[in-house]
């Protein structure tokens, strides 16, 4: 299978390791990723928040480049996904408004988690794992932009999604039931108002811990950086929770290794995953 790939700016910087794990997972699944040539930033929140025209035209340029390739477009970043979907919708409704003669491509813009949680792909992943994650209790954290607004994202269960849960279950981990799966971590305010972000991230971490989770799993590069960097553990003996990318866990379970270079990318110690893999040398036969 061939897919066009839009990594987005975070995956070249703070979430470079996310990019690596996405590519590795796709390699295992025999999916060829073709980077959209000369792609530009989608504008993220800053563009649509302060300049509608710029906020639409930046992702539109990417769509027109992707149209040349023709394949479905795989997007790992939640913000990029939402911006590309919004632009796609506007462009289909009224291309001339955006100075495009016609626009009716038959490709789809696909968010990574919904893609990986498809039944066939999950089955392939499940049969490829060499080390089960051994009932590791994980809080699946979706955040905002891969789900909301469902008019734009097309997410079927925006209040009660289960795609991340399905993925980590296939890896042998145990998703916990918890309250803050789709709460905002206020990524766009993290630099300007770290006090607000610390409060929101704190609430998310407290909720995850209350449910018994030992780590969080996400698919959003802003959430990952934000929830690790703004988590403050003030109470003595309280352990901060690392935030893993779903693809990072898939790579670890398939390869059976969690290399030091990958451990180092975390701002909060990911010891729990290293420990789990070290302890659990055999595949656990579990049905999906």
């Amino acid at each position: 299978m061939k897919l066009s790939y839009y990594p987005g700016c975070s995956l070249e910087g703070t979430a470079l390791d996310y990019d690596h794990s996405v590519r590795e997972v796709c390699l295992t699944l025999d999916i060829e990723l073709i980077d959209i040539p000369d792609w530009n930033c989608c504008g993220a929140s800053s563009a649509h928040m302060t300049d509608h025209e710029v906020g639409m035209r930046l992702p539109i340029r990417n769509l027109l480049l992707a149209r040349e390739l023709g394949h479905n477009i795989l997007v790992p970043c939640a913000a990029c996904f939402q911006r590309l979907k919004a632009a796609d919708r506007a462009l289909r409704a009224d291309p001339l408004r955006w100075d495009v003669q016609e626009y009716a491509p038959d490709y789809e813009i696909i968010h990574i988690t919904r893609f990986l949680a498809g039944e066939d792909i999950l089955q392939t992943i499940h049969s490829a794992i060499t080390r089960s994650l051994d009932d590791l209790p994980l809080a699946c954290y979706y955040g905002c932009l891969s789900l909301r607004n469902p008019h734009i994202t097309g997410a079927p269960n925006w209040e009660m999604p289960d795609t991340l849960e399905r993925i980590v279950t296939a890896l042998g981990a145990r998703p916990v039931d918890w309250s803050h799966r789709t709460e905002c971590c206020s990524g766009s305010l993290t630099m300007a108002r770290p006090d607000i972000t610390e409060k929101l991230v704190g609430d998310i971490a407290v909720a995850a811990r209350r449910a018994g989770a030992q780590a969080l799993v996400t698919d959003c590069p802003m959430c990952q950086a934000n929830v690790e960097s703004r988590q403050v553990c003030k109470i003595e003996g309280e352990v901060c929770l690392p935030v893993f990318f779903a693809t990072e866990l898939i790579v670890a379970a398939i390869s059976g290794h969690y290399p030091e270079s990958q451990q180092k990318t975390h701002l909060i110690s990911p010891e729990i995953l290293r420990g789990t893999l070290a302890e659990n040398a055999t595949v656990k036969e579990e049905s999906l």
Partner: protein, 187 residues
Amino acid sequence: MDKTVISPKTRNRKFLHKLEMRNVDVHACYQCGRCSAGCPIGDYFDMSVMQAVRLAAYGQEEKLLQSDIIWLCAACETCATRCPNNIDIPGLMDVLRELAVRKGVPADQQRVPAFHKSFLGSIRRWGRAWEVGLIAGYKLRSKDYLGDMGLGMQMLLKGKLKLSPHAIKGKTEIKDIFSGKGKEYDR
């Protein structure tokens, strides 16, 4: 908020027209309050989300442009998703921020627009957001020189920050976008 006087004389029709153009139907609000109840940042605002929608319906642009709410809203879309009347409240916030920037209305929360400006500056220049450059730009604009120094160093040491930017080939297209392409017809 309790002493707000609203009169048809102060209703800004151009503002209401702009909302209509963007399909933000603030008049559909019947004040159920679900938007305010679910807002993750509502505690920090100087008015509730529902009040902002109501003020917008009354055309009270000026009050809204001076409010914290437009800069502290994180565009998480929770309110819009739960609104029984499908009012695009984040779309309202987008319109308000855009007007505040165009009109140069000074923000109490000046660090937030300083961040957006730095982020967009990076895209305008390179075609992609380059974190190191935008952080530097933000520090200069916001005068927040010392905040997050430790975190920045940590990220740098962990190789999470790209040291040099990547300039895309289509930079002139990006420049066109930023120089107001499409706005020729007063959008």
